[in-house]
Symmetry: C2
Subunit: 236 residues, 2 copies
């Protein structure tokens, strides 16, 4: 495959979802000074099987070297290119409440190719506040910050406002939305929405815990630093 062919061939969705994990592991290995890495070792670092890793990389048209492994920085650059991280993506966050605040101040985005360029909220007590060096603006100013098609919108508003705010983001030219509101968003074709539902994640854990039957009966042997009877389980 050609270097210029980036993005031409279809990559399975399950593979795409793992690319960020590979990228991160490669960053760590590169920082540790490693030059090459085998599929076995990289897979171990990411917590997947080596066959799956090789299959994933084969979709990128990535070439390792048989008998040797993958060039750490080379593979890192290849994946980073695929994720469009040659230049950083602009991100706007709408809804500067509890969660929006945290996301605005989260250092982990900059490290991974994203730049928070706008914060938006219509609450009069929030507008004007500066979070992480960025001033909070009213939503009416969305157009001034969003580069159509080049800006990712993060939605951290209450569920009841999510659709409305999403519509405004799309109108401003946002084509990629990360939705933290527990609401289903309708968007036109060509707009990509991903949803992160924090409570759902807990509910899924709860389902499995319930299924393991830990509820109600005393768990068999739990590694513990002290006798069980000492635990008071108070709720602060």
């Amino acid at each position: 495959m050609d270097e210029d062919d980036v993005g031409t061939v279809d990559v399975p969705e399950a593979t795409v979802a793992r690319l960020p994990q590979y990228l991160r592991a490669l960053s760590v290995l590169a920082e540790a000074g490693l030059r090459t890495v085998s599929s076995e070792a990289l897979a171990e670092a990411v917590g997947v099987g080596s066959a799956k890793l090789r299959k994933d990389l084969s979709h990128l048209g990535s070439y390792g070297t048989r008998g040797v492994g993958y060039d750490v920085t080379g593979l890192h650059r290849q994946i980073a290119d695929r994720l469009g991280q040659a230049t950083p993506w602009n991100v706007v966050i709408v809804g500067i409440g509890n969660l929006g605040h945290a996301l605005a101040g989260y250092g982990g985005f900059a490290d991974r190719g994203f730049r928070v360029v706008g914060l938006f909220d219509d609450g009069p007590q929030v507008v004007g506040e500066v979070v992480g060096g960025v001033r909070v603006r009213p939503l009416s100013e969305l157009d001034r910050v969003v580069h159509p098609g080049e800006t990712i919108g993060v939605l951290a508003v209450p569920a009841e406002h999510a659709q409305d705010v999403c519509d405004r983001l799309v109108a401003a030219g946002v084509r990629s939305v990360l939705n933290f509101a527990p609401a289903v968003l309708r968007v036109p074709d060509g707009v990509d929405v991903r949803k992160v539902d924090l409570a759902s994640e807990l509910q899924i854990l709860a389902f499995h815990a319930q299924r393991r039957g830990v509820r109600g009966n005393v768990p068999a042997r739990v590694p513990s630093l002290g006798p069980v009877t000492e635990r008071v389980g108070e709720v602060v």
Copy 2:
């Protein structure tokens, strides 16, 4: 299937991940006063196909009524039971930085069957602070709050501390972990870990955006509230 058989039969993982969405939609419908709902209507509310919804519910052994639909409150209770929400789950949050703070103050957990019973951090400037009515404690007090097997641990610490803190949670009896740190956790059998990686979510969106080819070329027609030339795209 028996009412008592809850949790006996295997539910596919993909189905489990959708149960929280169904539950939420049913809450909304119940609040709107709806008595029954068809698979078509419920599926529409959740944004999935009706065949998938019926298949999912069939795994629960749930019985709707042919020709009529599903009883809204009945189905709600059934799913809530499966998620173990007859009684609330206890949650502890470790790492009261930016994100941990937001999670501790997030109202959306209580509504959905979870109770934040402990906040932990070893930073001397954070310990003792009260967030959302709960006092931040040092990690050494984990044992006092965790009910072995009945408490879900939320990890909001930096990646480099994630494994260590996770080990301490497990030692205290936590069997379900929600990990926000971009790190791979090793846990013993019987411990369930889910990972939420915020930067990854953005990277996946970026991959698709890049693939759509929005980068570099002006997008065709973007619905907009004003002329494109007016956008200055400043970075605050």
